[in-house]
Symmetry: C2
Amino acid sequence: MEYRFARRMKHAPKSFLEELFRVSRDPEIISFAGGLPASDLIDVKGISRAAGDVLEEGGREALQYSTTDGYLPLREYIASRYRKRYNIPADASEIQIVNGSQQCLDLAAKIFLDPGDGIGIERPGYLGAAEAFSLYEPEFYPVSLGGDGPDIEEFSAMIRDFSPKFFYGIPNSQNPSGVSYSSDTRKAVAECLDDSDTVFYEDDAFGELFFDGKPRSPVKKHLFRQTIMSGSFSKIISPGLRIGWLFAPAGILKEFNVAKQAADLHSNFLSQKILSRYLERTDIDSNLRAICRRYGDNCRLMCDLLDDLFPSPMSHTHPQGGMFMMATLPPKMSSMKVFSEGIKEKVAVLPGIPFYVNGGGEDTIRLNFSSAGQDQIREGLERLSTVIRRLV
Amino acid sequence: MEYRFARRMKHAPKSFLEELFRVSRDPEIISFAGGLPASDLIDVKGISRAAGDVLEEGGREALQYSTTDGYLPLREYIASRYRKRYNIPADASEIQIVNGSQQCLDLAAKIFLDPGDGIGIERPGYLGAAEAFSLYEPEFYPVSLGGDGPDIEEFSAMIRDFSPKFFYGIPNSQNPSGVSYSSDTRKAVAECLDDSDTVFYEDDAFGELFFDGKPRSPVKKHLFRQTIMSGSFSKIISPGLRIGWLFAPAGILKEFNVAKQAADLHSNFLSQKILSRYLERTDIDSNLRAICRRYGDNCRLMCDLLDDLFPSPMSHTHPQGGMFMMATLPPKMSSMKVFSEGIKEKVAVLPGIPFYVNGGGEDTIRLNFSSAGQDQIREGLERLSTVIRRLV
């Protein structure tokens, strides 16, 4: 027999992620290619205690089926944190729990996109988003990302000319570039969209990870009824619990909930209860300060080493937060070559190519600074500079 | 602004499930409408112990990101159980972990269906499947389900005439009817499909729940390279852990894995490790015997009460396993009326209508016999018979 797959499967870009997870497991390789938060900053003890209590006090309920929207006390916590941190109105009824914010990408695409519909996206833009969206056969309209966010002229023309269903952006410490939108860019983006029918999809996976600990105002604040905002506990508490959420206007959340129910009924209920219990009695801001300090130190060290060790035409971004930065290789150097030569020298970087949905980015690499320790960063960038100097 | 949703959202049937979960929470209502496994038979202690050990011994790993395919020891357990129980070849490389078998429905539809593609389905057929599939805008080709499985003439003609991408069936104790395919029907279904390009989608959520404890040979045994088989720990260990799987030929599993990664990267890793640890040292067959005994006793009681208390033109199925049976109301009685009048009398049943994808089933109701105790079953069916006698 012949397997007859849907047309969309031909649109799936060959994924780098799975290979990366594999590469990053070779213990001899120093990997800047993955996207793991620092393992030693996961509060295993606190989470274990919460798990023990949940199972002891209400295990029978936590192990049963639950409702699609998610555990109410957890949604209330998320809403209250938005109110406190960003001073925006937010209610538990506007929050849908999902399996990490990756699921928001899939379900948002599902409720909005017919084949051929437009999506705006940053250039470079997040690979995981491009993968999820691609399966809905959209047209991508990439907008150049500068040091302050998307180029506003390009952005505005693109919205006007193509009226995409949504624009997907990461205003806080973007993956892969580490760029954050300036305050002016946030306002300008909101203004451009205000009289359009294009939704702003604000992926806020890294909003809690600014090195200075200060929140930045979300675009949603300026464009409340037209913005869907996704968040995740993966980067701030634990990825293995697979809990993220969508914060969206009721009219959108209703459709999103239908799609969520069809996709998997509801997210892991035990995890939701563990997280909720954990958040009830933990000062997560204290652990977040430790995470931000670590990532900030690592990022500064990486910037210094890139400046000191590498050939001078090489440049890099200067993140204010998050887990990633991007470097541009010396002219005409191939990032795929750097990747394969790097593996031989036991250092892994991620070629920028898959972050450019319509091609380009051959001379860029993404570097992760959250998972390696400082000694590894020094050693790994030494190895990388050897590779690059050899290729110049 | 105007929200512009995808065309597929218009295809989403209005869901009954969420309302049911809500109804079944009113403590005064005796509900036969839901689909919860018996809460008191969930081994909370054993799962707690496994959770404690996983978090203590390897919590840092369990709380990190993992690979899309799923935790290898868990996949090995699943494969070995197939080999042992059904005597079919099965390898961990053919198993993909998902968030309950509901996610298989979504992802299978995603990899196979373009809008307008055909799907074969039993009539009545599983509501959750119809909901998941509908979002991919297929044509449904329902085949009448008799006491021994699908009508083979109808089945064969449908496959020949419409060549659907797949036929979705539940050969073991189907939801909603409780019907199991006879051994001959299994072979006949496989023979009909053998020279077609139609995949058999064998949903085996209830294969471990035969009251006599004996396994029935899956259709996959007769049609190995052409069958995808989904399974779930929800009905045999715990729904709240949200862990199910797909068992499929490599050529299909590869595409399925791409879709899974785009959908949510991977399933809850903590749950996977807890389950794996639990299965390592628990004789689940002993607990399964208790579950089968309970459900069998409940089912027999329900059948007896239906025969004794209800007006004579009312008939019902005679399940050999699973959690559901179906009853046909006296001529011209509306199941929606029985539902709404039932709620007033504090008894909930599920109208059969949503299980008939192309209409029909107005005079049928689905009854769950896994979650209520025997006293509740007696009291609930008394109430229901009052409602039905009043409506005759």
